[in-house]
Symmetry: C2
Subunit: 332 residues, 2 copies
């Protein structure tokens, strides 16, 4: 069976930030990538991706490989609700979507994977750098892998944390959750920052709300960098409902997880999204330098290594290019 | 029953670094401190503290309160073996013990607590700042609390991590373990540092060796600062063997835990203790500043709040003063 640990070494889109690919590629997916596994799901048999009309869906690179849209499932509903919550609050501070159609939705020529990416830049003068949403659905011999991500990054008008949610599901009974206000300063060096954004906001109660679930156990990213980049109140868990626990997992994702994710986003919207931080040039340069290193490392440990394993080179390079653009990070 | 979480808000000595006292004091110990609970164990009926002759033990502040030395137990054996391992390797780079007798061993006038503290400074020209060992034994109505700590801190001749071990036991079947190479740089900003001291040394395997124990579960320090100060490969667990599990816990402490702690110390001795780092003045000033903030915060969140709750004011202020001296941190 494909274990989440395997998926995590592979998977991409914007599971980018938190799905390192440091280990050799050893998953059944590689067979799909080589074209030995094909799925022929009826085109249009599932719900539409991100509400876009199916007429905008591109034909797969290999004309005989029909790829169904990603199926509806609770993790996508959670992400969609959060995106709506963010967009409603941020309003005109978000510019319209800026990615080309063939990156907004993309698919593997082998017919087993479909993804979507949306990036909205912050309006000039706002503290929003970008909001990135992605969804990935990938058929594998024993099932499917689904990854949904929302990242809302701030620029150097503020040093407030970024918002991050990653939901990674390798089977119907188990999900990996990474939910955090990503710190932008060294928390051991800046106790005041820790107090402002993590203690005063009682973020740890949100973490505890998830970790107290009997089905939750710690998720240790294989990337030490990822673990270092997260805050001490990050939700980093695997929720595993065991054999036959499909419905139980759906209930948790739609219930407890949806509630906590919404509350964390609300904290971020209230305390981070609108903040402006007075900084002198030296402080701002330092923040910028740290941001750049974290973003570059984030992309290096995951995306550039894993996306090409699932998608044809032209597709993956298009998607990587858009993500690099959002992150403000040059290619190698 | 006294839960470890309660002990952790109280307890001191050099559980200093990792035993915050941020919550209101609410433990049975406070009764002891007010003198309403007295223990009258026969003086000298237990093993000697840290091998010192019992003739050096001071009379308790209240002459009617005879205090037994801390009992032998696996956690103290582990700490003693580690201290010997460190001393054997560091040799003349450690100066002789520098604490006064009444801090080397101290006790509560109420007769319920005994502690020991040893500090050896690094020799001039070495990269060792200090090695601090402490042990605390405190009777409470339902049993006892035992804390053993070893900290070996480096100076600014190097930026290599410090060594830290804390063992905190609130009942015979359960122990909290904090074991880490404490980073001295922002790991998200310095991936090379992360790679050198944590990835190349395969420290994460040591963490996994403890966490894979079926009796282990994550220990979340109530102090977000403590969590932020630790590395992503830190062992931070509660090992709980459940009712009747006294012998099982002793086996784990003397077996798996002793082995892992020894290996972590060996990694530290091989990769950190002898290192010298070329730094310009700006880098060294920055390292010094970070070290000072971490040390001050460490003492603030724990020691000054909790030691006076267990020991008479003159005793706790003497001990705090010696620890401040070792840490190079001024009083408030």
């Amino acid at each position: 069976m494909l274990r989440p640990e395997h998926c995590l070494r592979l998977l991409p889109a914007t599971a980018l930030a938190f799905v390192p690919a440091s280990a050799p590629f050893s998953c059944p997916l590689s067979r799909s990538h080589r074209g030995t596994t094909r799925l022929r799901l009826p085109h249009g048999s599932g719900p539409q991706l991100r509400g876009k009309p199916s007429s905008t869906l591109r034909a797969p690179a290999m004309p005989d490989a029909a790829v169904a849209p990603a199926p509806e499932m609770p993790q996508r509903e959670v992400a969609r609700a959060l995106a709506e919550q963010a967009v409603a609050r941020l309003g005109p501070r978000l510019l319209p979507s800026a990615v080309p159609d063939d990156v907004a939705e993309f698919r593997n020529g082998a017919g087993n994977a479909v993804g979507s990416l949306d990036v909205r830049r912050g309006a000039p003068g706002s503290s929003i750098d970008f909001m990135l949403q992605s969804s990935l659905h990938c058929k594998v011999p024993n099932g499917a892998i689904d990854i949904t991500s929302i990242l809302i990054f701030l620029n150097t008008a503020t040093d407030a944390p970024h918002f991050l949610l990653e939901l990674i599901q390798g089977r119907p009974t188990s999900i990996v959750v990474v939910l955090d206000l990503l710190p932008r300063k060294d928390l051991a060096l800046h106790p005041d920052y820790l107090q402002k954004y993590y203690e005063n906001t009682r973020m740890d109660e949100q973490r505890a709300n998830i970790e107290e679930l009997p089905q939750a156990r710690p998720y240790r990213s294989p990337s030490l960098f990822v673990r270092s980049a997260c805050s001490p109140t990050a939700v980093m868990v695997t929720i595993d409902c065991g054999q036959g626990g499909d419905a139980a997992l759906e209930d948790i994702v739609s219930g407890r997880l949806a509630t906590v994710a919404k509350e964390v986003l609300q904290i971020w919207l209230d305390c981070c999204a609108e903040s402006m931080t007075a900084m002198d040039d030296t402080e701002r340069d330092f923040l910028l330098k740290r941001d750049q290193i974290v973003r570059s490392k984030t992309i290096e440990v995951d995306l550039t290594a894993s996306l090409p394993r699932m998608f044809d080179p032209d597709v993956s390079s298009r998607v990587i290019s858009e993500i690099r653009k959002a992150f403000g990070v040059e290619g190698p």
